[in-house]
Symmetry: D2
Subunit: 398 residues, 4 copies
């Protein structure tokens, strides 16, 4: 799957122009004090423009009405969109909806596609993904407390989730639940199930205050309690017991998505750092840019961002050509490498801004706070490093 280079370059430059003219230049788009709810009319207007340009939901395959881009091409789009806070949202390729669309396309029944996928692709509704639990660390399938017990043609769900991002205002959640707790293969104990958010027993507790912000709507991380929440069996996504397999599927392309978005943020911060280094004067006519430490930061940031982009696009190409399984070392490598680069670049950009960098008068502070999570979610960096090493060491340990 891919389109010709000319067509792609044309699309890319249109998107670049749109972001430049409609999003970055719009002050409101990056104002962190805006409520998502208040901002929706603006966002909907922009989405309509994107729809008219024929570029809405660009990530899905041609047969689902998308552009038919390769992951290598999509990655480049994500970088551009990542330069503004709402870039991905306005093109309807934002997390967690993009990932949900992906697994619904792959594993959904006709009923599920019609009911949940189609309105999502059309941007009419939003969704969330309900996996992380406050009582259990990390990504260990044995360590999950939420259960779905078969009861006739229904499942009864009980459990406690958090970081169910964007649940506030979503129409449905895809929840990871234990359906077969005694399966000797722990990786087959869980399933994914679609839970409309108006189901009784789907109890929205709060938008968690994260690094100083509760957020709202799409821009928030919810805590959910499932309390005798009854969902029909037809809402199971894929085979019973396939929950982790499907979650894995979701991760490969998802990492390209996140990493390229982070690179977009890096470029944004890099640009701001350079501008500030030019304009902030230590004495008349002596901008910060003359200080060698600042020069070091600029050069090191350039090197690290370039390295990041080349590695992520290389991984995308490998997924395109050989599939996500073959690219698992690359996928884990970019996860921890780019997450660290993002933190490095944001930290340097703030330092160059001085006191201003601490304020919410620029987007840097918000990026610094919220993207600290890049080293935590989707598997902490440490988990990915171990994974890479184990994979590499297989041939040495025979």
């Amino acid at each position: 799957m891919a389109i010709s280079t000319e067509k792609f370059e044309d699309i890319k430059s249109k998107i670049q122009q749109f972001i430049q003219e409609e999003m970055i230049s719009d002050e409101g788009a990056f104002d962190i004090n805006h409520k998502f709810a208040d901002h929706l009319p603006f966002l909907e207007e922009k989405r309509n423009k994107v729809r008219k340009m024929g570029l809405f939901t660009p990530q899905i395959p041609k047969n689902h009405g998308g552009l038919g881009l390769s992951l290598h091409q999509l990655g480049q789009i994500y970088e551009i969109l990542g330069q503004t806070f709402y870039g991905l949202y306005v093109f309807n390729c934002q997390a967690p909806d993009a990932g949900n669309m992906e697994i619904l396309m792959e594993h959904g029944t006709d009923y599920q596609k019609e009911t949940f996928l189609n309105p999502l692709v059309a941007g009419k509704i939003r969704s969330c993904f309900s996996m992380t639990e406050p009582d259990y660390a990390g990504s260990n399938p044995i360590m999950m407390g939420t259960t779905a017990v078969k009861d006739g043609s229904n499942y009864i769900i009980n459990g406690h989730k958090w970081f169910t991002s964007s649940a506030d205002g979503a129409d449905f959640a895809i929840a990871m639940v234990i359906t077969d707790p005694d399966n000797p293969n722990p990786y087959m104990r869980a399933s994914q199930i679609i839970v409309p958010t108006d189901t009784k027993g789907f109890n929205f507790i709060r938008n968690i205050s994260v690094m100083g912000d509760e957020g709202d709507g799409w821009n928030a991380h919810a805590e959910i309690k499932y309390e005798n929440c009854i969902v029909p069996e037809k809402n199971i996504l894929g085979p019973v017991g396939a929950g982790f397999k499907i979650a894995q599927d979701r991760l490969g392309p998802g990492r390209i998505h996140h990493c390229m978005r982070w690179i977009g943020e890096c470029e944004k911060a890099f640009e701001m750092m350079c501008e500030r280094a030019a304009s902030r004067e230590l004495s008349p006519g002596k901008p910060l840019a003359l200080k060698q430490t600042v020069q070091n930061w600029i050069a090191e940031s350039r090197a690290e961002i370039n390295a990041s982009r080349l590695m992520v696009l290389d991984a995308a190409k490998k997924i395109d050509n050989e599939g996500a399984y073959a690219a698992k070392v690359e996928i884990s490598t970019i996860k921890f490498y780019v997450a660290q680069v993002l933190q490095n670049v944001l930290d340097r950009a703030i330092q160059v801004h001085g006191a201003l960098g601490m304020t919410d008068d620029t987007p840097l502070a918000s990026l610094y706070r919220h993207e600290r999570s890049a080293r935590i979610y989707d598997g902490a960096d440490e988990v990915h490093k171990t994974r890479v090493a184990k994979e590499i060491m297989k041939k040495y340990l025979k």
Copy 2:
């Protein structure tokens, strides 16, 4: 100035116990969602207990009614107080009031002491220090835009300041203003002047939103516009033109204060990291503490915190014995070293906490966000490194 070791150990253990029983164990004391204004009755109650214990405003000399501690002793107190958010406040040795008391004691007239110092020492009023300007970088005396022009027996102040911390609710500001713009010695161009906050023309613009929080009262950073703000000449602190000299005086002991507070925060975060490493299980019976990466973080944090404490107390001893001028290399060294250690330790503690570390359900996120400024204020780390190197190189460059 110092008290006997036994007396000091007695005071220390009383303070440690007070913090443990009255502050840390009180959930409200560390809840970041509390408004300062709402929290005041609680704080005032605690202050009264401290007053009764005879330990209020412990940092001032005996002849001003204080405990007569050496800086080396005070440092150890600051570390203990720094383990809770309001520890220093409850003992009335919080910034910026403690620094203001110091320079008022040293340079204030009888009028100034009676009017401004005494109620401050008694904890009846609060104050602020108005130096940083949004339009100028860093600490260059030539680069300051706020002026005070003599007009009869008054000064008329005009200018734009920010990060006038705790201005919200303060009774007076000590403002750094240019009084002699043409003085060939740029270090003699500025003066410090006391401005009651109810003076006409002292215009409070806002509490700046910093890393996601506007805060309020003592716990906020204000933007102030001085617009034809008229203050009597008797409010000048020390000689006209001595503004920078006085600001320098303030910095030496102030760095001990900040560094030891940061070390208190490090110990708090270290404790939380260890507890979390013990309680967070990757699989049943396998706590995070068994992972070598986490062990590395614990060991490296222990080393860095120990190094920090030893260096800060060593610098304090040198200030006690030889004065702040003789200790200037040490003072600048601890500034950049401890600020970095604080960031390292907080970062590791968050990583060990995983998603929980991102939330405001623990104090870590707040510390992480707000103490990012440790590397910026009071001279960015880079400025202090250069200062240390220049001082050391004097003997080599002859």
Copy 3:
């Protein structure tokens, strides 16, 4: 300039096989105690095999009898050759001869080509490049003490050079000399001049002991004194005053050469680290590879090496397409980035080897010692960082 992908892949696999079978598997090839002089017969035998394969001097253009590879293709060859100590030598693309061939091709007269270039290309003689001076730091054209004074149709050279690598046994040096000390443009003060090493006044002082080794022959760094050394004017390379311009020309492709060789060394060290991690047991059945710290090093090394290769090949492609001048940011970026990665990887490989890593029983210690210079020569890393930053900041500083 480039050859088809199939042809190139064929050449690459032949070279890979040759290195594997003839060089790596030959213990002598990596034994650091071998004298170069003693090793020459072995090397000459291998060179003859390479000549028969038609792959000798692979880096030169087709019209000079080379393979006509692009820099992007050549880079990949250098990585393969870099995995053994004498790989580049055996293919006659070793420094400093390869650089000398390059500038002789570009700037040499017919006389110079016939006399100096042709035997060099044929591998019949060796050469050296005489630029660095012990009395002056770095790469500043004003800071050079060696002069060549016109005297009739000759030049009389006087000066003191060191790190004239491979001078021991070389047939000629290309020396950087000041010919026009008063030129207002300091970058036009120097020229390059060819000095046969048997010229009177070309005084070989010593092979400098570097990190414990004096070395000999090609594998050594010489100190040279030019004392009234008389060379005919026809030995000037290119126009008088063009010394620095020519030196610059030499650097772009030279950096690809060095960086890819370093990456070859990284892969060699990485391989050894993994093998050691598998075979070194802390207790029976518990290899070092199970330690998370070692896993971190493996993963981080993999990430950094991959990033290095992608960046260097990307820079090579840019030089191929747009020329070295357009790629100057990329060229400086890879210099400092890859030099640091090389040091990181070697350091980790040694640590995994434990005491064995300190010994000369493996090639790691030698690489660790000698490649420390990677961060120093051809412009210290710090110089390149500043260069990158200045180039990037041009558009911001207007």
Copy 4:
């Protein structure tokens, strides 16, 4: 054990003066090309001066004829001596003899003291310590291959050791050997036994080439094969099975010794870095010291060296007051912290020296090469970090 501050200051200043006048100012003392054997007459002359000053073997207790210094005092002496290559040797407190004296004093029989300890204390003979084995990693007592089998009143030793430092020319080795391979407590399987080096079967294989140097005499690391090497039973040091316990005893004070010596080397390198930064000019009148990166290195090195010294002396004080067992966290902490600081400082000093730093014309290259082992021997840094973490976590894991 300690002497009065005045006495100690007097001794310290005498030693400082001696090192300054007799050792540092003597070029030969730091010339790495000198053979130890050739240098012995010079060293013996210096030792005689030290003997006359009454400062020879300063580390031993008063009742053994030493100065009776506390470890806190001794540490300060080691730093001074560590500033020259032969400083510790000339005062007869060099490794491994100092450690051997220590355990002989503690655990030796009268026979052993008379035969082995006394001439060692007098500086008449040298010794070595034979523990590390090429076939086993690290410090695991189960992982040791050298055995001593009881045969009548003798032990027959067989095994393969290396890094038996200073064996070349030593009179005896203290060897770690397995005497009770089946003891259920693996920590009681080994014993220490004294092996005169002229015993048949004590086969000196070679001085191992380490980072480019084979060295000789005291200044070398030997490989030894024990082949049916017969030693009388009375040569067992301490109880049979106490080998590891005694080895542990040796380590606490030994780490103070090594760490303070490293700090001496750091100060030496720091001094050289500053001098070079002052004298190396990038253009006339513009020394390297003006570059901010160099300033950062100077400031960071100063901070790290100061932190190191304070931590090591703090650990020494704790050993003095509470014993090595109570100070085990501190002892492991300084091991990894100071070893890393040493590498940082040496690396920076070399970078500031440029090409000169790579040569053996200064002591930096030798320090850089050989002290790379600081992070490996006496337990790799990683082992000590884990140890610190485990110790700290005990109270959290209950």
